[in-house]
């Protein structure tokens, strides 16, 4: 479909793209600008695309009303641990399923793939009971252990396996002749080549953990344990109505850092996600 496009059609295409873009870009713009509007202006008519006056106190209220720094740290360290753990486990398992011949490998792979069929929502009741018995309710353990070892990691393993299958075997055979053990081959040869696949595993694992909502509200009950998604919904007034401008300020603080990282590294992001694993 790549032919030269006549100028008039080009203009129409740009116009169409800009219109389609509105629901994708406007909410973020509206979030950031409304977070600094005084409460009297946030429902003003006509809508203010730029704030007419600024009220930065919303941002200090975010930190006064809840232990927001602590909650930020909770989300960040949980996501970091889950991402690192998943990368290690899924690359090892994916490598073994792709490369090493061992008894029952295919059966075990099918068992592991079952995890794709069983979303964590299905097992949330027994998981809650298990962590209750282990004394881990209202701790971060369920949010760390389940994603690394449970169903969410299966997709990562699948992506890694698909990647390692496509790596030329010759590279490793040369190393084996030189007397390298399996683990060294994995560490020194296969893993460095797997960087693009690892990057995409890292991205979707991080986003998955960062966005987790059902699990935190099931497992966590005290404000200093909350993760960000859960904390955002807690900025409500005495009647349970949302304090919009403060919620939006907290939402901005939650969304912007990841968005900025994404814009800086967008090429790796998009291409990483598009070109690894899923095509196989």
């Amino acid at each position: 479909m790549k032919t030269e496009i006549p100028p008039r059609l080009k203009l129409a295409l740009y116009g169409l793209l800009c219109v389609l873009l509105i629901p994708f870009v406007f909410p973020t713009w509206w979030m950031v600008t409304s977070s600094v509007k005084p409460i009297s202006d946030i429902f003003a008519f006509p809508p203010q695309l730029l704030p007419q006056s600024y009220d930065w106190s919303t941002y200090s209220r975010v930190f006064e009303l809840q232990p927001f720094v602590r909650q930020y740290w909770n989300s960040a360290y949980i996501a970091a641990l889950v991402t690192a753990g998943t990368m290690i486990l899924s690359s090892m398992a994916g490598y073994a399923f792709a490369r090493i011949r061992f008894p029952f490998a295919n059966t075990i792979f099918m068992v592991v793939l079952l995890g794709l069929l069983i979303p964590s929502e299905v097992t949330i009741v027994p998981l809650f009971q298990m962590f209750l018995k282990a004394g881990m309710v209202n701790t971060h353990w369920p949010l760390i252990l389940v994603p690394i070892f449970g169903a969410p990691s299966v997709f990562a393993t699948f992506v890694m396996r698909q990647f390692f299958v496509t790596l030329p075997v010759e590279l490793e055979e040369a190393a084996r002749v030189d007397g390298l053990g399996r683990f060294k081959i994995f560490r020194k040869i296969a893993l460095p080549l797997a960087r693009p696949a690892l990057a995409s595993v890292a991205i979707f694992t991080f986003l998955h953990s960062w966005n987790l909502y059902l699990e935190p509200i099931v497992f966590l009950s005290s404000a200093d344990k909350f993760t960000l998604p859960q904390a955002l919904t807690q900025y409500v007034d005495a009647y349970g109505g949302p304090m919009w401008n403060i919620q939006l300020a907290a939402a901005t603080l939650t969304a912007l850092p990841v968005l900025i990282v994404f814009i800086i590294a967008q090429k790796q992001f998009v291409e990483g996600l598009a070109h690894t694993g899923l095509k196989g």
């Binding site: 794709l116 929502e121 949302p242 968005l259």
Partner: protein, 310 residues
Amino acid sequence: MAVAEDNAPSEGRAPSPFWTIARRDSLAGFLFIAPQLVGIVTFVLIPLGLVFWYSLHEWNVLAGTFTYTGTQNYRMLVEDGSLVEVLGTTAVFSAGLVIFNMSLALLLAVLLNQKLAGITVFRTLFFSPVVVSLVAWTIVWGFLLQKNGGINGVLQVFGIEGPNWLRGEVTAMISVIAVQVFKNVGLNMVLFLAALQGVPNELYEAARIDGAPRFKQFRRITLPLISPTILLTSIITIVGSLQVFAQIAVLTQGGPGLSTTVLVYYLYQQAFQFHFFGYGSTLSILLFVIVAVLTFAQWQMRKRIVFHEN
């Protein structure tokens, strides 16, 4: 990982008769997959067994009773009038989501596959909601969809009186679908874009020489060649749609009435708000069966509709 090194004798040593290369490889293989296998057994398979076991029990958490009742929860499932409505809602939500998501993703991918200056900027912008925190995104939309919110404000500028989006049954459903689609359509979009770029240009050139119009080229060349991607993304999107929870919890709490109460949300309410763990487990089994059947059905369809495998 260190264990793998210790247990497998290094190759520098003279090979002992027991540790043949095949045996060493088997051991390494098992050690590599052990953490994941143990994890799947502990956090997926045992819980799946437990959830089935729980579903055969009447479980009153407050009274501390746990009594075997056989299939009673399953009979309740059939007689639960709300559940019929919930399943209807789930079907409408998932169908609406998949259709809207897939067609928008395909449209955007085709548009972004054109040779235009600055097209990567558009690609980045369309993709950007994927990386915005889900609850943050949902909160902003909740704010926009208020009766006096941004969307109705803009409509009013054009003299249109907008509805109270989240309070009407139909508009609430449309809202939760739209919020979810705009959040995640970027993922399917880049997958389609990658697939489109994989279609060899010669095919289009040949078609042009034969005088095939653009639409026909799209139907006869593009669609068949990207059908494996369409199938894969539709499986991921459908299974994903059955897991949507945060958006419903934040935007509508399943309301008004049961009009946006999808199965996962209903399950959460029964188990964790009303403490019916037994019935909640039965609903989990139902969710599992639905996911399994849908995945299996789509996988079977692969043989019929997907043009090209490999």
